[in-house]
């Protein structure tokens, strides 16, 4: 708790210091490849009878939006005088991003990853090691993202003095949900302007996949005050809004999948990055207030969506992102009126998933 208070003070101070925010933006530009483009998805739009634009976070360095947050948090680590970061990771994207940003700054980096995820994302483990990080497989509980968070928190207690916990989504104790959203809001801020440049004043809908909710929070931030429907897509097996109830876990009060006794349930999703039984507290609030809506997509629709986007647009999305794509395929002409303009947050590329997808497709034949 004192560590969170220290972090809050440091973040507030840094975030209003132009020398910090300028450096943050400069690194995003020169190192992470921002701004990422907005791409009209013409063939898919025609097929579905809606107008889809994709915000291309898959083109950011390391292949997903996760880099935005870690660039900010690693700079903040240095500013706090710490020389080491720890992180949890599910799909490995946040771990790879953290290892990358740490290597750039010469920070020591340890990543906690559920044992099951180290198996299904073996290449990402190797990438992290190439980048100089130590990957610790977590063997407790469900051996996925939730347990990686538990383990990272256990570790943080022992080393707060010289170590920053670089949390990867808009979850956990304050100030993380707020800080991570701020660091991801660049997605929505850029996209709103880029759409204007393309002649779209406000999209009818913004759609993003939701694990903890950082890419969604980031893109929503650009449209919070616009008359735009904000839609988050969870994995059916990790659907905190759909199947959850209020609870307290990992230092946050939010919606959680839990049993009748308050024991947290294990999430099960084809995508390691959405395999989390909770959701960031701000999304729970947005769901409750009705400002954003949340739907769930099951594993079986995800592979198809990945193939459709690959074939029609030449973009292989991450399995996480494919949940949002699947929802577009399913709801065009239903929840999404024909002719509507939709911004899809293409949170990450699918390179990390191709081995897993190949196995699944082989099994289907």
């Amino acid at each position: 708790m004192p560590a969170c208070l220290e972090l809050e003070t440091a973040f507030i101070d840094a975030w209003r210091d132009p020398s910090f925010t300028n450096e943050y933006r400069q690194v995003l530009r020169e190192f992470a490849g921002r701004p990422t483009p907005v791409t009209p998805l013409d063939r898919l739009s025609e097929q579905l009878g809606i107008r889809i634009f994709a915000k291309r976070e898959d083109l950011a360095h390391t292949g997903s939006h996760k880099i935005n947050n870690v660039v900010g948090q690693t700079l903040l680590t240095k500013r706090m005088g710490k020389n080491r970061v720890i992180a949890e990771t599910g799909a490995g994207q946040h771990g790879v991003a953290t290892a990358t940003a740490s290597a750039r700054l010469g920070l020591e980096c340890t990543v906690y990853m559920g044992e099951i995820d180290t198996e299904r994302q073996a290449l990402n483990v190797f990438r992290m090691e190439l980048l100089g990080a130590t990957v610790v497989p977590v063997t407790s509980g469900s051996r996925t993202l939730k347990d990686a968070v538990n383990e990272a928190m256990r570790e943080w207690v022992t080393c707060v003095e010289d170590t920053h916990y670089c949390l990867g989504s808009v979850m956990g104790p304050h100030p993380f949900p707020w800080m991570v959203r701020e660091m991801q809001s660049i997605i929505g801020i850029e996209a709103a302007q880029q759409l204007k440049d393309l002649g779209v004043d406000t999209p009818d809908m913004v759609v993003a996949c939701v694990g903890g909710g950082s890419n969604a929070a980031g893109v929503f931030a650009g449209f919070a005050n616009a008359p735009t429907r904000l839609v988050g897509i969870e994995a059916a097996g990790g659907s905190a809004v759909g199947k959850g109830s209020p609870g307290v876990l990992h230092g946050m009060k939010s919606l959680l999948m839990q049993d009748e006794f308050g024991q947290i349930e294990e999430a099960h999703s084809i995508s390691a990055g959405l395999d989390y039984p909770g959701i960031g507290p701000e999304h729970a609030y947005l769901a409750q207030s009705g400002r954003a809506e949340y739907f769930a997509i099951g594993d079986s629709d995800v592979i198809n969506a990945l193939q459709v986007l690959s074939l029609s647009e030449g973009i292989i999305p991450a399995l996480e992102t494919a949940h949002a794509v699947a929802w577009l395929l399913q709801e065009a002409g239903k929840e999404i009126p024909l002719g509507a303009t939709v911004l899809l947050n293409l949170s990450g590329r699918g390179d990390k998933d191709v081995a897993q997808v190949r196995e699944i497709l082989r099994g289907q034949r």
């Binding site: 708790m1 004192p2 560590a3 407790s140 509980g141 939730k146 347990d147 538990n150 928190m153 256990r154 207690v157 022992t158 080393c159 707060v160 003095e161 109830s245 209020p246 609870g247 307290v248 876990l249 990992h250 230092g251 959680l256 839990q258 006794f261 308050g262 024991q263 947290i264």
Partner: protein, 255 residues
């Protein structure tokens, strides 16, 4: 003053150092006998760990025990029903994570604990900033709230935690989750900082695994808490006799 604190202050006045063993409720079918054995061997209070699926402040030993207890179907209702059958009057202190009480209902949890003979509660993931609802519920059922102070706790916060603590204040000897440790830690320094602001009884815990460590800690505090080392005995298959011997060896060492 809540009953637990009255009791523990009286204990301190006799000059006796408090020995508080920790058990995971429901770990084995005969766990209630383990608690009785500990009381018989000289425990002054007993911590009852209520299993939670995500024990974030616990090390591998207690994690394993909690998992087993949950697999055995332990719930707040089932363990409270078993506690009510205890044949000893040793004060009981519940230790769990906030979601368990939050989900069961705060008022209902506190009432349930009280009717099962529980006098205190430790909820390590509930910071004082968020604790007012629980403190209201627990107070209406005479449940004392025990807060943890760590070596890194800044002075102002330490003062607040020490003043809020009822029954005793829990001095964490090290920056770590529960589990074994060989170093003696910073218990003395933490206890001294608590004593500078409060006269609440102060017990050292986290990492105390041998009778020698317990003696060292008891010399600078009012009592000691022994968790993982005892749970390990039970995980290894130890029954009530082993528990009794284990607790007795700590008793002899700190007396």
């Amino acid at each position: 003053m809540k009953s637990l604190e009255t009791h523990l202050r009286a204990l301190r006045a006799t000059g006796r150092k408090a020995l508080v063993p920790y058990f995971v409720a429901g770990l084995t079918p005969d766990w209630i006998q383990h608690v009785e054995a500990a009381a018989h061997a000289g425990a002054d209070a007993v911590e009852i760990g209520i299993p939670f699926s995500d024990p974030m402040m616990d090390g591998v030993v207690i994690q394993e025990a909690v998992l087993r207890a949950l697999e055995a179907g332990t719930t707040l209702d089932s363990l409270c029903a078993q506690l009510a059958t205890l044949s000893t009057s040793v004060p009981l202190i519940a230790m769990t994570y906030y979601n368990i009480f939050h989900h069961y209902g705060l008022e209902r949890s506190a009432g349930k604990l009280q009717s099962s003979g529980v006098l205190g509660a430790i909820v390590p993931d509930l910071p004082p900033e968020e604790a007012s609802d629980w403190m209201k519920a627990s107070t209406s059922h005479d449940i004392a709230n025990i807060f943890l102070v760590a070596p890194s706790t800044p002075p102002q916060r330490l003062g607040r935690l020490a003043r809020l603590s009822e029954g005793f204040c829990y001095a964490s000897a090290r920056m770590a989750v529960t589990g074994k440790s060989s170093e003696s830690g910073e218990g003395r320094r933490v206890v001294e900082s608590i004593r500078a602001v409060s006269d609440i009884p102060t017990y050292i815990g986290i990492g105390i695994s041998t009778p020698d460590q317990a003696r060292e800690a008891s010399e600078v505090s009012d009592g000691v808490i022994v968790g993982s080392a005892l749970v390990q005995v039970i995980l290894n298959g130890g029954g009530a006799d082993e528990v009794e011997n284990f607790v007795a060896s700590f008793r002899r060492s700190i007396d």
